[in-house]
Amino acid sequence: MTESTSRSRTILVVGGGISGITAAVEAAEAGHDVVLVERSPTLGGRVAQMNRYFPKLCHPTCGLEINYQRIKKSKRIKVFTMASVASVKGAPGGYAVTVRTRPRYVRPNCTACGDCGRAATTEVANPFNYGLDKVKAAHLPHPMAFPMRYVIDPAVAATAEGRAIEAACPVGAVNLDDAEGSFELEVGAVVWATGWRPYPADKLTAYRWSEMANVVTNVEMERLASPDGPTKGRIVRPSDGAVPKKVALIQCAGSRDLNHLAYCSRICCLASMKHAAYVREQIADAQVDVYYIDLRAHDKLESFVQRVKRDPQVRFVKSKPARIEAGAGDNPVVCGENTLTREVYAEPYDLVVLATGMQAATAEGEVPVFAPDLDDYGFIFPESGAIAAGVASGPLDVSMSVQSATAAALKAIRAVSA
């Protein structure tokens, strides 16, 4: 450890998902100053994109709401959205951090009235719904956004449309001169809560997600089932909007596979149980087939699997499907070998959901990470001394991420108190 000239007791949390939020509020409530930096326009991360949590099928909005309240009540947390870490120099106790910001074009006095969205004409792909639909170039990131503030797409900022959006704002919150910027921070500890992204389904060529509309991923299924999603919560086939009567859930789509993610992503089995529950709640006569190698439900989650297994309309097929073929009427045909019966099957479905795994956001260099060492899969290597919270350290579900983030907050407190 190099001797730093100045010591800071401030904790920087990188990433504003459930883990980053948890680490920030835990550290702040223990009496430490926290700076929370989030790349996107809002906090909430992947959790905000979930319809429900397993195993109790409760709504993530309530957990987020509680945590947003904790942030608002705390005088010690400073939140920066649309901001990413550009460089980190120093050692535990004294880091010099450069943060780069992107323009939002909307000032804090925005009341989220929506007049700017109505004035906008251009539509852009909606990242909140994984591109399943489009939003206006001036939009609220999602109904649970924090801060509750609109964002304007840079593509329209310097156009006549941008000026129309500005004119539409009744409180003068639009600032078309907003620009990229950067600022420096002195912090004593850095908590990396950089999270994950779904493994890119286009790489699973045998499952033909890119070509077939009715093959979707598990994260897209969450959006289809969400009341604030592209279909207002109705589970329908993307090709024709029909209600699917026969649904296949394919486990280990890219996980436990040396050609893709070599590790088990841990959450997909339970996420698929949840998807079986969504379909069976909405569509009384639907048949759901779960294709699995083996179901991995750790400790208390086993009872949820047993609950789903009691449903006679949910069938479990022990098989990793070999490929998906195009059938009549845009129906994907799932092909493989049932390993219990040795039967080679080719089964048509209305809708196929691929349980794609969790890839570290720090894998493949999309997020620049300065201090921590990464393991072979891009997760932060715990022995490196870096403090990782949640999925930045490895695949975890939400409750385990919260535990991990609380532990990370304690490690950060120890680092700044030394």
Binding site: D257, L258, T339, V344
Partner: protein, 203 residues
């Protein structure tokens, strides 16, 4: 090729361990997690008695005679679907073909008489003799391995295809093509056989 152990009791891993150590690609066989991707990917899967996945479990179970007597090892057409899709990167095709060789060497009943064994033998005869495969000679040797009358009938049944191939210049009528230095090829093959024999003794 060293002695292939015959399991005598339940949970006897001697055969499985022999396969891990002696069969091409066998060192990755222990990684198989029985997911079924190989058997599901196989264009000949429905024709196979066991399919690769079940065959691999049978190896672990010590079912030597059923494994080496199966038609699964002879039905592989080397399409490599299983090899590219296997999540554990088990070289399924290498293992099946290597086991087929073991079945012939160990004199498993019927192994030499399968279509694939006959064709492989005819193919190797041409490759080793000329350093090239001559379509006419390989097919003739393959067909007549079934005996004179059966060979004649098979040849006549495929005459139209042969004519078409000649017309399309995919089959020629002159002397067989040869590689440039057939003598050196023989030396290379003799050396390979020597190395193989030594390898078998050592293990």
């Amino acid at each position: 090729m060293s002695h292939v152990p015959t399991p005598t009791q339940t949970y006897d891993l001697s055969f499985a361990r022999w396969v891990y150590g002696h069969v091409d690609g066998g060192d990755r066989l222990a990684l198989c997690m029985q997911c079924g991707t190989c058997s599901g990917s196989c264009p000949l899967g429905p024709q196979m008695d066991f399919g690769p996945r079940k065959l691999f479990m049978m190896i672990r179970a010590g079912l030597k005679d059923q494994v080496l007597g199966s038609n699964t090892i002879w039905n592989c057409v080397s399409c490599y679907n299983c090899v590219v899709r296997c999540p554990r990167q088990v070289p399924v095709k290498h293992i099946l073909q290597s086991l087929a060789t073991v079945a012939v060497r160990e004199g498993y009943p019927g192994a030499r008489e399968t279509d694939n064994a006959r064709f492989a033998k005819a193919f190797w005869w041409s490759a080793a003799k000329y350093g090239r495969t001559d379509e006419r000679l390989v097919t003739a040797k393959f067909y007549f391995s079934y005996g004179l009358s059966k060979g004649y009938r098979k040849s006549m049944a495929n005459l139209a295809i042969a004519k078409g191939m000649v017309k399309a210049r995919r089959m020629h009528l002159g002397l067989p093509h040869k590689c440039k230095n057939a003598g050196e090829l023989k030396l290379i093959l003799a050396r390979a056989a020597e190395i193989e024999a030594r390898h078998g003794d050592a293990s």
